[in-house]
């Protein structure tokens, strides 16, 4: 009995020793690869045989085809480069990328989500490299508008978003706005809304006519970010929201945000949005809108191809202009940033690759596949109908500074905090004031720790 006990203590002692030697000191210490700071070059052909491992999340139908075409074209141009493409959904990429990047053999090129939870953490951990040197070679700064470059930039230590180091470039543009059913609106005798007041009037008219004003499904939790983001942007305006999300100032308990929360709860009480939305899937709500059973639907421009296919000319796209502003303000930005990892053995090839799949030529490939490129070629005239609505809106909000970032960029845990709080808000589990206090608690904890 005694001997048994002793051997067990032995095993535990050995295990503890092994575990401690494995962890050495604080977890994460010394795991970041050293950044190579050698001279950079545009030379790809001279790099010898290279296999470039690329992790992307371009899984939507049109976009994945565009990506395949671009990869094939790059390999055709540089036969010495073999591209090993690893593609997965956004959610899967988000969960696996951290592990892949912190491993010994990270991919060369990855698509990193913007904001503090992902890109900020990668920069802080020294896992992706600053592209300022390659920007000097490829001149991305003059190709992209300032507002888009800012979103992909961080301070060198990853603590301040929109800092002076560029960490990635993006292929596609994104604006979250309000799709509307033209037939229903003309039946109600109202114009496409361009302000929150207009929208509420149209929704009241729609409700009175027995038509569901806005299809909304939030079982996946993420659509809540878009609903709240659009309303908050239309009330608070671009400066206030930008300052909040970047951590530059303001509080979530500010009047405008409380007002936005009140508005949404009000919509829910009046039956303007789908009843029991927390149990309705995003796709079911979209299907409801596409089938002509609802007047409005809030989602991003990435659904343009699908909605246009389902509704043809019946669908329109609009954004809201805040009171006292001249141009619309709404949530949006650009697709995930293409970044080069610190551990990549061929940063020159990796940079040439991301330039190749993001440049003006690549933009045309995306348009061909019914997707909105981050920079619309100057000589391109969009097809009339939904594409014109979407392209024009994107052009005007990016040039007027009306783009406010996705709210979940605010803190590493804000996605969970915000999405579950919106579910509570629409189900009237919390008051608008309490809703904003939940957000502020998460926010002040993070901003205070920086």
């Amino acid at each position: 009995m005694n001997g048994k006990k002793r051997s067990w203590t032995g095993v535990i002692a050995v295990s503890v020793a092994v575990a401690l030697s494995l962890t050495a000191c604080a977890p994460g210490a010394g795991s970041a690869p050293a950044e190579s700071s050698g001279p950079v070059s545009k030379d790809v052909a001279g790099a010898g045989d290279v296999t470039l491992t690329v992790w992307d999340q371009n899984t939507d139908e049109g976009i994945t085809d565009a990506q395949e075409k671009l990869n094939a074209a790059f390999s055709a141009k540089y036969p010495n480069v073999k591209i090993d493409r690893v593609t997965q959904s956004f959610a899967d990429l988000k969960t696996t990328l951290k592990l892949a990047l912190s491993g010994d053999n990270p991919p060369d090129v990855v698509q990193a989500n913007q904001g503090y939870p992902d890109m900020g953490a990668f920069v802080e951990g020294g896992l992706i490299r600053s592209l300022n040197d390659y920007d000097g070679l490829y001149d991305w700064s003059s190709y992209y508008p300032e507002s888009l470059l800012k979103i992909n930039s961080f301070s060198a230590d990853g603590k301040t978003w929109q800092g002076d180091n560029l960490f990635g470039i993006s292929q596609t543009g994104e604006v979250v706005g309000i799709y509307y059913n033209k037939k229903i609106l003309s039946q109600l005798g109202v114009e496409a809304p361009t302000s929150l007041d207009d929208l509420e009037k149209s929704m009241a008219a729609s409700k009175a006519a027995g038509i569901l004003p806005m299809a909304y499904g939030d079982i996946e939790k993420s659509p809540g970010i878009h609903l709240f983001g659009v309303v908050q942007a239309a009330i608070a305006g671009s400066d206030a929201v930008n300052e909040l999300v970047t951590g530059a100032g303001g509080a979530w308990t500010d009047d405008a945000t409380v007002e936005a929360a009140k508005t949404i709860q009000d919509w829910s009480s009046k039956g303007y949005i789908t009843e029991g939305a927390n149990g309705v899937s995003r796709d079911d709500a979209l299907a409801q809108f596409e089938a002509g059973q609802a007047a409005f639907y809030i989602v991003g421009t990435w659904k343009q191809a699908a909605i246009s296919e389902a509704m043809g000319d019946d669908a329109g796209f609009t954004t809201l202009t805040p009171k006292g502003a001249d141009s619309p303000v709404t949530t949006g930005g650009e697709g995930l940033a293409w970044a080069v990892t610190t551990g990549s053995k061929n940063p020159d090839v990796a940079a040439a690759y991301i330039d190749f799949i993001n440049n003006a030529e690549a933009a045309k490939t995306f348009i061909d596949e019914n997707s909105l490129p981050s920079v619309i070629p100057a000589d391109y005239t969009p097809k009339p109908g939904l594409e014109t609505d979407v392209f024009d809106t994107y052009g005007s909000v990016t040039s007027s500074g009306g783009l406010v970032p996705y709210l979940d960029y605010s803190t590493p845990t804000f996605y969970d905090t915000l999405t579950s709080a919106v579910q509570q808000l629409t189900d009237k589990q919390v008051t608008p004031q309490a809703f904003t206090e939940i957000l502020q608690k998460d926010y002040s904890g993070f901003v205070g720790s920086k």
């Binding site: 494995l22 604080a26 210490a29 149990g279 996605y415 579950s420 189900d427």
Partner: protein, 313 residues
Amino acid sequence: MTVTTRLRSGETRTTGAAPSRTRRRRIASLKAFLYVAPALAFSLIFLIVPTLQTAWYSLYDWNGLSVATWAGVQNYIDIVQDEQLRDSFLHVGVLVVFYSFLPIAIALLLTMVISRAHALRGMSFFRTVLFLPQVIASVVIATTWLSIYSPNGLLNTLLRAIGLDSLTHVWLGDFNTALVSVGFVGTWLNVGLCLVLFLSGVGNVQPELFEAARLDGASGLQEFFGITLPALRGQITVALTLTVVSSLKTFDLVYITTRGGPGNSTSVPAFEAYNRAFNSGQVGSAASVAVVLTIGILLITALIGRLQPKDTE
């Protein structure tokens, strides 16, 4: 004289043999150790070391990428203080009722009925049907129930068909019904397992016992409490262990049906641990939840083990 020499020689033999025998024993135990070494190394590398590492991480504030900062027991204090984490442990307590207590009660009731009707026709068919949920992949089960619970799903359609429109609900989207709805899937899942266990237990009871009870004019209830229930003590313990552990570990069902929503009304510790470790970059907090969950499961399993009748051991 001879006796003493023999004794003496015997003594010398023993004293002389003593070290060699212990050496032999040592070699034998070393050999035995070699036999278990591969298995031990395996569990050391893949179970014990990661477990200890998790416990180590739980003492840090770490996003999984950068250098961690020492947090002491703060992550554990948060489990009590952070409403979201505390609630997740409360939710799992509710799930235990649905995953374990209810199925066992229902299965006992069914056992009572079925064991009375010995030669029930098509018994093996019913047993298969009731056990089927255990065989189907949990992802399939969760997806199926997601559809059953949807606003225009089977459940609501059924309620409308029989004129109970007022009872229709968005089951998984309503703060009041989501957790119960998830729990009910567990009940459905585990009844079959418990029933198959209990039926096999009843099969082991001498038929003469039932016969004697019936000859003495015992009612069905008396028969159940007098014979069946005591005979099933071992099976009930096993069922309790299996179902309670499965309820505490619940992840897949919540991950697929609600992702912890609406709000946090269906979040459970296993889901919180996953979400914090892989999505929101709170590895330390995730590790502390995992540690508390593991200790909780071990404790509860040990307690249930005490119910096990000693004679069957």
